[in-house]
Symmetry: C2
Amino acid sequence: MKRAQRACVITQILTENPNRDFPLGYFAERFGCAKSSISEDLQIVRASFEEAGLGYIETTSGAKGGVRYVPYISKELSVPAITKFGEALAAPERVLGSGFVYTTDLMSDPEFVSMAARLFAKRFAATEADIVVTVETKGIGVAMEAARLLNMPLIVIRREAKVSEGSTISINYFSGSADRIQKMSLSKRAVKPGSRAIIIDDFMRGGGSVKGMQDMLAEFDAKSVGVGVVIAAGQNAQKKIGGYFPIFLYDDNDAECRVRPNPEILGE
Amino acid sequence: MKRAQRACVITQILTENPNRDFPLGYFAERFGCAKSSISEDLQIVRASFEEAGLGYIETTSGAKGGVRYVPYISKELSVPAITKFGEALAAPERVLGSGFVYTTDLMSDPEFVSMAARLFAKRFAATEADIVVTVETKGIGVAMEAARLLNMPLIVIRREAKVSEGSTISINYFSGSADRIQKMSLSKRAVKPGSRAIIIDDFMRGGGSVKGMQDMLAEFDAKSVGVGVVIAAGQNAQKKIGGYFPIFLYDDNDAECRVRPNPEILGE
């Protein structure tokens, strides 16, 4: 096989397996060539990933040397996408009353999901987390895609305990959106003690459900090392948690431009 | 930019955007070269995709000629994966009683999700569907990944109507698993009339919830053109639907080998 074709095969395998380490020997054996040849192929691959703006290649040297693809989204790609979807989200017909915005179509849209998940994967790449956690239902798509990009399992906390989960731990928390006490449940088998979690949710108002997820993690001797929300509402309201990363902001007191991109993403 | 690097950039862009058409002019403009050069680059890309076994390249010729990546999974890759996960699923400690199997960890595992979604994407590539449909919760991960691979939106039917969905259509159906009448709801904005849907679910016993999804689609003047389930239980039981595609079979009368891969996938 020629160099160009080897470089393309390596590119596809790395792209399909984000954040997974491949020893150089894996490719050397697969292609029946020397590791030094693979190293030279990787120079082409590295330059190509820089050009595409969707991620970069990390290599480690030495006998156990390997390569991994770290998904990313360049400013050139993220700013037009977040601007376009921000305009879609600001449409007046999306306002449902009671401070809710209709987002179901976007949370199901592969392009929207991919953009949001890449922004989270970029933001949380250095947290040394080992699981992604969300609570059902609407954020599962984005959380699953972020988990895929970060190569971590996704833990979905349920609203109700199900027989197919075996024995569960349940906690109660106050939801500002629902204006009442709600319950969440998680299988006792789901989380290992000491796990480091990235929490992803589609919508946050007071922070009650994120706080609930953090309390749930504490029950498993695990902890949250990053919080990403697609839309954070009511910026002036008291939040139960700090240090979260929103993609869009939603000020329900402002009638003119209800949803807008997080300026930090536009300006970084 | 040299040919090898252009071929790698094209490979990455196609891999990150499955089942999406790119006109040759898109790459010609991006790289500042002639369409004929891109056509030659694509010969390298095509051979590489064949080598990797994860999909193939489809090209259409003529003035509007373009290229798309169709994800796939070769028998060489799918048979070891389905065998490994079949053994994991057959472990006696997964049996929860009442005919349920603990699968939550696998439904959250990126490798399992990717394998299942690729098998569905391969199976349903030719259905000319335009949406993927599931019912919350456990199948959402696989359904989302199948939707991403097929480049279609994912429609998630809810158990309960939520205020953030706006006005909804609800139907009742009989669930054999729960042994009672259950309800499912979907936003009136969610599905366009005439849509062709691929239904994905994590577990099927009598087929009640799949039948419920088909009835729901009928309420929107839409129809099911394919049904994929990760595990189909009780092969001898009367199913409410026909023509479904299971990845694993689960015979809860057979104490020795409870879960096994669908022989059709192993032998095809």
